[in-house]
Point group: D4
Chain length 250, copies 8
C-alpha cells in the first residue's frame, strides 16, 4: 500500500492528481501502514489537526522514518518530549528541522499561520515550570493559535496575578501551568469567566510526589471552570485549547 | 440584587453615576456576608454565572438560610449533591423547590432558558454512571445550554458508539461520564474534533478504588482533546462546558 | 498511689496542704496511675498546659472516670472529637459539662481567662470546613488565647481575602483551615509576615481522598511560613499557636 | 549429586543410557542443586515447558553457569529481560547464543518447532509498547506456538482495530500489550470470543505511574474475557497462552 | 425500535417468524435500546455467551425492566453481586427467579446444560473466601462448564494441597480464589501445567487493604501460568475460563 | 472420613482406644474435612499449638459447627476478632463459652496452664490501643505464657516508660502495641536487649490511614530488635511470642 | 533598592512625601520583572525577609541573572538546594559567593547579623540527616536568628536526648530533623513547652518511601506542639522559626 | 573503652567500687560524642551487642573517623549497606578491613566466635534475593550465631522446600528472604514451629513496587508465627534473631 501512496504522491507533485483528488484518495485510506508504526492520515480529516509524535521512547530509526514520510507528504509535524541529545542525532539526517529547546519540541521550518479565532493565554506559576509552559506555547502556536504568555506569577505574590486580571477575559482559553501546591488555576479561575485548563508539573520535591500534589490540588479546585491534563502534559492542554478555538471559529 | 446592579449599571451608562462612584458601589458589595457563609455576588459580574451551592456537608439551617437569601434577591440557585432525605426536610420550608432525583440537584421552579450558542452532548458508559451523567445534564440545562444525551454506550459494545459517531462533531462540547476502566473518553476523542471533558465516576469495585482507575485512564488518554474533572464531578464538567459555550457566543 | 493522691487532695481542700506544697508533691509524682489510663500531671509543669483528652475511641466508662478525677483535682479539662450522642450520655453523670457542638469539644463550665500575649486568627476556606475551624477556635480560647475568626474566605473569591489582608499582621499566629484543593494557606502566607499553621480538612470528594489533596497542597506551599498539622486536627493547631504565644509572653 | 548428574550425562552421550532411562532418572531427581541456584528439571515433566531464566538481577557468573549446564543437558533455554550489554559479555563465552534485541531475550540457536494447536495473536497499542510485545512474540514462538502480530493499533484510531476485527476469532488466545490509558484490551475483548490476556506496560509519563494506570484500566475492564499479567510481563502472557494452547492440543 | 422488537417477538411466538429468521433479524440489530439502558444482543452472536448484568448500583426499576425483557425474549440471564435484600424485592414481581445465596447471583430457573468440553476446578484458600469462590462456581456452571471445587486449602497447611495435586492436570482451567497474602495461586501453578486464573479477594484486615495485598502477590507470582482478575471478580474468572473451554471445544 | 473420626472419638471416649493410639491415628490424618472447612489437626503435632479460628467473615453456622467439632474432640479453641453481637448468638447454642470482651476473643472455660518458660510483657501506647493489647494478652495467656502488661505508656510522657525500663530485660519477649505515630517500639527497643514485636493499631485519624503511619514507623525503626505484625494483629504477636518461648523451653 | 525604599520611607516620615505618593511609589514597584522571572521586592515590605531562591530546576543562566540583579540592588540572597557542581559553574562568574557545602546553600559573603529575639535549636536524629539539618541551621543564621544545634540524638539512645532536655525550654523554637521512623519530634515535644517544627527527611530505605514514613509519623504525633514541613524542607522550618521569632521581637 | 568498662566492672565485683559509684560512672559515659556523630557505648551494656553502622548516606570522612574510633577502642564493628566503590576508598586508609561482597558488609578481620545457643537458618526464594540473604547470614555470624543457609527454594518448586522441611524444627529462628510475591514465609511457617522472621526484598518489577508486594504478602500471612522487617533489611532480621538466641542462652 505504501507503493500506492508513493505513486499518488508522485502524481500529486507532477500535477497528475489535484489536491482535492489526493484528499479523496486519503479519505479512503484508513492509515498508512509503515510496518509496525501506523500513521493516521484520517486524523487530519477527522480532527483537522496533524498527527503529533510523542518523541519519548521511540528509537532514532523510528523517528527518522516518520520525519521522512511526513516530509514526502508535505505534511506538518510536531514531535514532543524530545531530548536535546536525540535531536542532535536526528538533525544530522534532517538538517532543516527546528528544535524549540526549552519546550523540547521539534518542528519543520515552516512558520505557523493563525488558523483559528480566539486566543490562548499561558500562565506559569514558577520559573521552574517554564519548560512545560513553553511546551504549551510552542504547541499552541504550531497548531495555529494566537498565543500570549505570562510566567512566574505564582500565588505567593498575588500582586502579579491581580495586575494581569483584566486581561484574563480577553482570551478564549487560559492554560495554567503549576507545580508545587498547584494553587494558581484555582485563583485564576476565581477571577475570570474564561475556561481554565490546568497542567500540573512535576516540579517540587518530597511530598510533591512528582506532580501528584499539584494534580490533586487542581482536580479539587474550589473554583468552577477548571479541567485538568496529565502531569507535564503542556501539549495536551494546547491541543484541547485548539479544539475549543476551532469551535469558536466555525 | 441583580436588579440593583442593573440599575446602577444604567445609571453608570446614563452618566447619573460616575465611574468612581460605581467602583465604590461595587467595593461595598463584594459579597453578602451572612455571618459565617459569604455569598459571592461579584461572581455573576466576573463570570456571568450564578453561585452554585455544594450541598454535601452543609447543615439544614445553612441551606435554608441560603435558599431564603437567594429567593429574596430573585436570584437563581443550583444546589448539587443533595441527598433525597435532606431535600425532603428542605422542601418543608421551601415547598416550591424542584428536586432532580437521579441528579441529586435542587433548583427553583423557573424553567431554564437557552443563553449560549453551541450545545453539549453528555455520554455515559454504563447504566450505573447515570446519576453523575444526570448531574451533568441538569447542571448544563440550568446553566443555559442546549443538551443532548446518550447513555449506556460503553466500549464493550463498540457498535453503539459507532452509531453515534456522526453526531459527535455537531456539538461544541462532549462530556463523557465513565467508571470502571474509563476507556470511553479515549475512544470518543479519537472519533471527533469536538473537545471532550471526561468525568470519572466511582462506579466499580476492587481495584477501581472508587474511581481512581477511571481517573488515571482518562488522564493518560492516548487520544488528544481530553481534559478531566474530579471523580463524580458532573457539575464541574457542565460548568466548564458552559464557559466554553459562552466564548462561542460572544 | 491513687489513695495517696486522694489524701493529698483532701489535705489541699482542707487547707492542711498549701497549693505550693501540693504542687511540689505533684512534681515528685510522674503521673497518676488510674489502672490502664495514666494521667500526666507533669505535663502541666513541663508544658504549662492541661492534659487534653482525645475523646474518640474511649469508652464512656473511661471518659467518666477521667472527668471525675479532674473534677476532684480542680483541674481544667478539654475533651476533643466527642460526638454529640456520647456527650449526652456523659452529661447524665456530669450535668455541669459544656458541649461546644460544632467543635465537638467538652469543657468544664469555668470561663477561660486570657493567659498569653499575642492573638490567634482562625480562617476557614469553605462553610463545610467550619467544624474543624471551630475546634481550633474553642481550643485556642480554652487554652487562654485571644481569638478572632473569619470563615468562608476561600480562594475562589479573592476579594474576601484581600479585604481581610490588613488585619493579618496584627495577629501573632494565623490558623488556616481548608479542605478541597487547600490553596488558602499559600495565598494567606504570601500576604503576611505572621506564621501560618495550616490545617487540612477531610472536606471534599473523589480525589480529595479525605483531605490528602489539601494536605499535600499545604506541605508543598510555594509561600514560606506555612507549617502543617494532621488532617482535621484543629486542636493541634490551637495547641501549637498557644505554645508560640506563650513564648511571646515571656 | 551434581557428580551423579554429570556421570549420567556422560552415559547418555556414550549411549550407555537411553534417553528414556535418562528421563526416568530425572523423574526421580527433584531439581539440580548447583550450590545456591537450583534448576528445576521436574518442571519440564510437570508442566511440559523448559525452565525460563529471569535475566535481570543475576550476575554474569550465575548466567554463564546456567547456560553451560543447559548446554550440557541439551536442554532449551529462554533468558528474559537481559540487557544488550550483559548479552555482549555472555556471548564472549557462549558465541552460539542468539539475542532477540527488541525483546531482550536470549535463546540457543535451534529453531523452534510448533508444538501446540491453536495460535496466539499479539497486539500492541503504541509503537513504544513494541519491546514488551516482542518479548511476548519471541517467547510464544520459542514455547512452540503459531504467532501472529499487529502493532500500533491503539484506540485513538479505531479504524485500525475494526480492520483487524475479523481475524480475532481465528486465534485461540489474544495477547494485548498497552501502556498509557490501557483501553485496548477492553475494546478488543468486546469484539471477540477469544480469551484476551492483557499486558500493561510502563509506557507513559506523569500519572501513568510506570504502568499502574494501564494495569488498573485492564483489571477493571467492562468487557468480560480479560485477565491480566504483571506490568511489562510479556513473557508471562506468552507462557499462559502456551498452557492454554497445550490444553487445546490434548 | 423497541416496538419493532416486540412485534418480531410476537411473530416469533406465533410461528410467523422462524427462529432462524429471528436470529437474522437480531444480527442486523446492533443492540436493544431500552431508553437509557442498552442490551447487547449482538454479544451472544459475537461471543456466544449471554449478557451478564452487574447487579450492584442498578435501581430496582432498572433490574425489573431488564429481567422482564429477557423473559420476553426467552433469553438466559445472570445477575451478579445482588444483595439478598434486593433480591427479595425483585422476586416479588418475578417469583420464578432463583437466588444463589452465598454467590449473590440471580438466575432463571432453567437448569444449565454443559456446552463446552474441558472443565473448571475452583479452589479457595480460606473459608472466608467462599462467597467469591461460589460466585465463580455458579457463574461457570450457568455458562455451561463442568465444575469441580475444593475449598479451604490455603498454604498454611500444604498437606491439603498436596493431596489434591494429582487432580490439577485433569482440568483445563483452575480458578484460585484467595485473600490475605494470596500465595495459593503461586503454589498451585508450580504444581500443574493447567492455566491458573487467580482471583484476589478483599478478605483480610489491616495491610490487606481490601485485597490489594493478595492482588499484588498474584501479579508478582514467581510461578508462570498465572493471570489475574479484579479483586472479588469471581464471575470474571468463570467467564474467561468459559472462553478458554469454548476454544477447546471447537 | 468424618464418620471414621467420629467412630475413633467414640472409641477414645469408651476407652476402646488409648490416647496414644488416637494421637497416632491423627498423625496419619492430614486434616479433618468438614465439607468446605478443613480443620488442621496436624498443626498441633507440627507446631504444638491449637488451630486458632479467625472469627471475622465466618457465618454463625460455620462457627457453631467448628465449636461443636472441637468440643467433641476435647480440643482447645481460640476464636479471635468476634464481635459481641456474634458472640451473643453463638452462646445461645454453646452457653459454656467465655467472651473476653475488650479482646473480642472467645475461649472454652478451661483455665489456661503455663506451658512455656520465659514471659511476655505487653505494652500499649494509648488507652485507645487497649483492645488490641488485650487481644495480645488474652491470646498469650491461652497459648500458655506468663504475661505481664502495662498500658498507656506512650512517648508523649517518657517518665512512664523510664519507670518501667528496669523490667524490660526480665521478659523474653516484649509486645508493643501502638497507633498514631507508632514511636513506642523504637523507644522501648532502644532501652532493652529483649526482642520487641511491634503491633501497629488502626487508632488515629487523618494521615494515620488506619494504621499505616504506625506500621511504617515500626518497619523503619532506627533501633534494632523490632519486627512487625499486620495492623491490629494482637493475636499474631502473641503467637510469635509463644513460638519464641517454646524454643526457650526446650 | 532597599536604600531607595528606605529613602522614600524617610521622606514619608519627614512629610516630604505624602502617604498617597508613597502608596503610588509602592504601586509601581510591585516586583522587578526580569522577563520570565519576577523578583518580589514587596515581600520584604510584606514579610520583612529577603526573597529566597529555590536553586533546583533553575538553569545556570537564570541563576546568574538573579545573582547579578540582587548584587546590583545590594540585596541579600539565599539560594537553597544548589548542588556543588552547579555552584562551581556559578562561582566562575560570581567569585565572591559562599557555598555552604553540606547545606547546599549559596549566600553573599556578608556575615549575617542577629535581627530577632529568641533562638532556634536544631536537632537531628541520625548522622545521615545532617545535610537537611545544616540547611535549617544556615538558613536560620542568614535570616538573622541565634542558632544552636545538636546532631545524632535519635530515640534509639534516649540518654542523649535526656541529657539535652534541660536546654529545650531555653529556646523559642526547636527544629527537629529526622528520617527513618521519625519518632524524635514526638519525644522532644513531650519534654518541652517550646514549639517544635518537625522536618521529615528522605533518609532510609524500603518502606521509608523517601521520607513518607517519617512524615506520617510526625503528622500523627501523640505529643501536642508539633507542626510539620515538607520532606527535606530544612529551609522552610528555618523560615517559619524566623517568623515566630520576629513576633517575639515586636 | 570496653577495657575501662571491664575494669570498672571488676572493681564493682571486688567491692572496690560501690554500686552507686558504678552507676555514677555509667552516667558520665552515656555515649562518645564525636562532634556530630555520637557512638552509643551504653548499647553494649543495655543490649549486649556492638553498635552497627548503617553505611549508606554517610560520607567517607564520617566512616573513616568511626572506623578509627572503634579500632582505638578495640571494639568490633559491622558496617552494612556499603557499596563496593565506597569500600575501596575506605580500605586505602584501613587496609585490614574485610569486605563481604555480596552482603555489602564491612567487618574487622577478627573471626567471630559463637556467643549464643540456638541457631539461625536463612532461606531465600530466588537467586536474585541472595544479596539480602547474605546480609542476614554475615550479620548473624558476626553477631555470634550458628548459621545455616539454603538458597533458591521458592514456592514455584515445592519439592525443594519439602526436602528441607525436616530441618526446620532443628533451628531456633528461621529467616526467610523473598521478593516477588513473597509467598515463601507463609509456606515455611505452615511447616514448622520455629519462629519465622520474614525479609521482603525489592527484587521484581512492575507491581512489585520495589518490595511492597512481598512486604504486604508477609504482613498478611495466613500462617501464624511470621513477623516482618523493613524491605531489604537482612541485617535487622539477623539482629532480632540474635536477641532471641540470647534469651535462649540465658
Amino acid at each position: 500500500m505504501s507503493d500506492l501512496i508513493n505513486k499518488k504522491i508522485s502524481q500529486l507533485k507532477s500535477g497528475e492528481l489535484s489536491e482535492k483528488e489526493f484528499a479523496k484518495f486519503l479519505q479512503h485510506l484508513p492509515y498508512n501502514n509503515m510496518g509496525n508504526i501506523k500513521l493516521d492520515f484520517h486524523r487530519q480529516l477527522r480532527r483537522g489537526l496533524p498527527e503529533v509524535i510523542y518523541g519519548k521512547g521511540k528509537s532514532l530509526l523510528q523517528l527518522e522514518a516518520i520525519v521522512q514520510k511526513y516530509k514526502d507528504l508535505g505534511e506538518e509535524i510536531l514531535i514532543t518530549k524530545l531530548r536535546a541529545d536525540y535531536f542532535d542525532s536526528l538533525r544530522s539526517s534532517h538538517p532543516d528541522l527546528i528544535y524549540h529547546e526549552r519546550a523540547e519540541i521539534v518542528t519543520f521550518d515552516k512558520p505557523p499561520e493563525i488558523r483559528v479565532k480566539g486566543s490562548v493565554l499561558v500562565l506559569s506559576a514558577g520559573s521552574s515550570d517554564e519548560p512545560i509552559a513553553e511546551e504549551a506555547v510552542v504547541s499552541a502556536q504550531y497548531l495555529g493559535n494566537h498565543v500570549a504568555k505570562e510566567y512566574d506569577v505564582g500565588v505567593a505574590c498575588l500582586a502579579r496575578i491581580l495586575d494581569l486580571q483584566d486581561k484574563f477575559n480577553d482570551h478564549t482559553v487560559i492554560i495554567v501551568v503549576a507545580g508545587m501546591e498547584g494553587a494558581l488555576p484555582s485563583v485564576v479561575a476565581g477571577l475570570t469567566s474564561t475556561p481554565v485548563i490546568a497542567v500540573p508539573t512535576s516540579v517540587g520535591y518530597g511530598t510533591n510526589f512528582n506532580g501528584i500534589a499539584a494534580l490533586l490540588s487542581m482536580l479539587n479546585s474550589c473554583s468552577g471552570g477548571v479541567t485538568v491534563t496529565n502531569i507535564d502534559n503542556g501539549f495536551g492542554a494546547a491541543y484541547q485549547a485548539t479544539l475549543i478555538n476551532k469551535k469558536i471559529s466555525r
